[in-house]
């Protein structure tokens, strides 16, 4: 049994991943900001087999409250073995271009909050000399594009941050996993299939669990995003700056 903290527990990816943890009997500490939805997810995970499920209400923007939240998680589960950081918003690019307040807020939600939480977790895991930190970044962080570079920049920060953190914690036996999902389809049925690039949260969850157990430190999910993003990142600027993507 692992004791797992999940930040942003009501997001589609987090919920799908948490169901896999629940099915194998892990203890879960769920953090999210919407009480009703959080409780619905918590009840479901408890029935699906989680050892224990604790729901903790917190808005990811309340960064100063993270230590209190982590203390609560450690007290209630008796420690933390792994953490999945999955909160975030899909920034509205045009709105962020019009409002720098919104830009800063989006960057705080998607990057700063994540880096602060990682730092708190890292310091605790470093002391206990074990632990796994998995962070949902995005393929959008591999290269800024005009259609979503605010979101992309935040995710790029997360990617770079976790890369450095991975090096720092390696000697202590603490692992850091950077997850880069591509397009995630909401639950669909065969009647309305999206294009081949779209993956279900369930498929993404499978690769997250695998990576947290023993897999690669940087996960593209589905896997084919790795070559796609390699190509995107390799396009020379004199061409890239002319593309409308």
């Amino acid at each position: 049994m692992n004791r797992i903290l999940i930040m942003g527990a009501t997001s589609a990816i987090a919920e799908a991943t948490a169901r896999k943890f629940a099915a194998r009997g892990d203890a879960l500490f769920l953090v999210a900001r919407n009480a009703q939805r959080l409780q619905a997810v918590a009840d479901d995970l408890q029935l699906r087999g989680a050892h224990t499920v604790q729901a903790y209400l917190l808005d990811a923007c309340e960064i100063d409250s993270y230590p209190t939240m982590l203390d609560a998680a450690m007290a209630q589960m008796g420690g933390i073995d792994a953490a999945l950081i999955a909160h975030g918003t899909l920034s509205d690019q045009l709105a962020c271009q019009a409002s720098t307040d919104l830009l800063r807020q989006e960057f705080t939600t998607n990057a700063v909050s994540c880096m602060v939480l990682c730092t708190h977790l890292a310091n605790r895991f470093e002391a206990q000399r074990h632990g796994v930190i998995a962070v949902i970044s995005s393929v959008a962080g591999d290269r800024g594009r005009q259609s979503n570079y605010v979101y992309g920049a935040a995710k790029a920060a997360v990617t770079a941050f976790t890369s450095g953190l991975r090096q720092r914690l390696y000697p202590q036996g603490v692992r850091v996993v950077t997850v880069k999902p591509g397009f995630i389809a909401t639950p669909m049925t065969a009647a309305f299939k999206k294009g081949v690039l779209w993956a279900s949260p369930e498929a993404v969850a499978r690769s997250i669990v695998h990576a947290m157990d023993r897999g690669a430190p940087v996960v593209y999910t589905p896997w084919f995003w790795r070559p796609i993003m390699w190509i995107v990142a390799s396009v020379p600027e004199f061409i890239f700056r002319r593309l409308r993507i």
Binding site: R37, A40, D43, A190
Partner: protein
Amino acid sequence: MQAGSSWGRWPRHEQRLVTLTNRFDDLPNSPPMLPFGNGRSYGDVCLNDGGTLLLTRGLDRFISFDPVSGVLECEAGILLSEIIELTLPNGWFPAVTPGTALITVGGAIANDVHGKNHHRVGSFGHHVVEFELQRSDGLVLRCSRDCNREWFCATIGGLGLTGLIRKARLQLRRVPGVWIAGDSQRFASLEAFFELAEQSDAEYEYTVAWLDCATARSPLGRGVFMRGNHVRHDAAAPRPKPPRALRFTPPVSPINAFTVRLFNELYFRRPAAQAPAALWHYQPFLFPLDGLLEWNRIYGRRGFYQYQCVLPGAVVDEVGTLQEMLRRVAGSGLGSFLAVLKRFGDMPSLGLLSFPRPGTTLALDFPNRGETTLRLLEDLDTITRAAGGAVYPAKDARMSALSFQHFFPQWQQLRPFIDPNFSSSFWRRVIASTT
């Protein structure tokens, strides 16, 4: 707008898609709307041409489960297969399951589905303790036999038209494990089928027959009768095999008069058709086709039609009617790959528009060959009408308004319960003015 079809892969309709993921949200304001679960109904009851589909598969959370009473509360987008996975280890099973477990709870209620145990336990609606119905005006109704009973009865079998079922409480039934024991035997005629049904219905919870529709040989109506009961058995449950999927749609359907005849002959003659003592895992017994995902693609790009009717009345009349149908089917040369025959029990359905009623139900499927197929189905409607029977809306893509209103003369009573912002392709078709 996105094109999509249901399990019959025909017709294809264009609709806006809205994914629901949170049961506390208000309904979108995008009329006409229709809930869409897992798309396992065959025709257009789950389609809404030019309108909006509310995709409910994202409402898939369990809410509570009492392993002592067997009452499960869950969101309406959960599949029966997911319920089985959760509750079977505790010895509980859905009281009613149709031929596939890959349907949502909401869809099971809206179509008041039935299973091989209808003669013992009735249809799905009989085991619904309560559900929550969300209307487009913001009203949320708790419906049960005692509370908002008229809404309860209108929504069971109400084809998704009365509002969105957000969550439901179901009474499950006790089972001793994963095994079903019984037997399988060939029968030579319809009369023999009715005799077997008569003998078996008292002792066996599940009874169903497969019928050979491809041959015009006399006597008509040979087939294989299967029956079984949940039993305790010490054999270890087999490791669940991951389902295979049919990954492509053949440009020309391999289903034709010759292959249908060949398949039916082989199916009848295979050794397992005559098994005096059989032990099945519930999966192949109850959900034989769930092992091959997207099997509906076998019918090719033009899809197929299902035809399921119920014929009420005394056995002698039914034999005559069924013979007439089988002759018509055999004469058409279209055959039916899978024909299923089952005696319903006498328990009256709760739903205003429920399909199950005392009598015998016959289910057939036909590749879509355009006019030829439609003419055959129209003829079958005429036979069903003359016999005082009805055709199952969940499987229909083509019955005329005239036929529907004949089969369901009470259809007008549903009208006051239909949400003004809800509609479906099926409903617009069958209430069209017939004058």
